[in-house]
Subunit: 197 residues, 2 copies
């Protein structure tokens, strides 16, 4: 079974979105910080990345086999107009399931079910999870192997935290650090044997 | 006039202290993560750092000429029993000033006055500021040149944020990254010309 990670572009004060869904221009600036054109698997977007971020993002794309997202993000993006940019099957955790289709499965049984369904689609590849409520539920359920933090040079001052407040966890690492422009890519492992509270 | 930085050991969710002043064992683990013995200038403590963190900490000690801290930290540490570990003059911003002495000046006129007094003591060296309320007041007053983030592999889930919620700011960098064990040392510059809100 593939590993599970949660990742997001995050401000140095720990937010993945500023107040009232602001700040995305700052958080996602690194997707346009270089000259390496990279079209996402779904074909819906082309980024222009630094060589360092392009290598990182390519590795993320190649290793990710399925995703779990929340209904709020699904609605906010209008279901990515049909398919997630990463081009992989996406499980939407929601209390108001829609009809499943080729690219999306709607799950209302909780985070364990959502991750299990995603892992079936992912095969040997890893499952990527949303930050925010999804990340908090998953880490509390013991399901998160790694955290992939794209640390962005901005203070947002409020908004949606990467991890909703709650229990603490020790991490191992960073197991990798990629320095780029407008972002530092950091990967950590979750050490479940040593929770902090 | 020397530059002004604010720095702290910070969890990846942005806290410099966990709930109810917990988590310091995790946040400060990097001070004992290696074999390089380093006694602080005041002589009050000896750390055992990795070579990377020892070089970073030595540079911080050599460049810092004075500090500004809040009264809460001063009281919590019992005035560091007479002198701040960095061995430099320390300005305490407080509504309830004590009598000044050789190592401490108490200022109640606001963050601008506290930083100005510290800069006189620092000469050409830099002034270091506390995180938390002090950092928020200073950045909002346009006084912070750099942020020195010692990013620690832990999720605290709550507590005291490095920057109290408020206005957002764009940063430049990281202008330096030092990879170590149990910590990543990152330095950013504040770009006041481009505030995010």
């Amino acid at each position: 079974m593939g590993k599970v990670y949660t990742g997001a572009s995050t401000s140095i004060d720990g937010y993945v979105s500023g107040p009232d869904f602001s700040g995305f221009d700052k958080l996602f600036a690194w997707y346009e910080a270089g000259d390496v054109a990279l079209t996402v698997p779904s074909g819906s977007m082309t980024f222009h990345l630094t060589p360092e971020s392009a290598a990182y993002f390519t590795s993320l794309v190649q290793s990710t086999g399925a995703l779990v997202v929340g209904r709020k993000l699904y609605d906010f993006t209008n279901g990515w107009n049909g398919q997630h940019p990463l081009g992989v099957h996406t499980v939407v955790l929601t209390h108001r399931p829609l009809e499943d289709n080729e690219h999306f499965t709607f799950v209302s049984g909780g985070i364990e079910e959502a991750v299990a369904v995603a892992q079936k689609h992912a095969g040997d590849k890893v499952v990527g999870l949303n930050s925010g409520e999804i990340a908090r539920q998953a880490i509390d359920a013991g399901l998160v192997d790694e955290i992939w933090l794209d640390l962005v040079p901005v203070i947002l001052g409020g908004g949606t935290p990467f991890f909703a407040p709650g229990k603490g966890y020790e991490l191992e690492g960073p197991v990798s650090v990629v320095e780029s422009k407008s972002v530092t890519h950091l990967r950590y492992k979750v050490k479940y044997e040593n929770t902090t509270s």
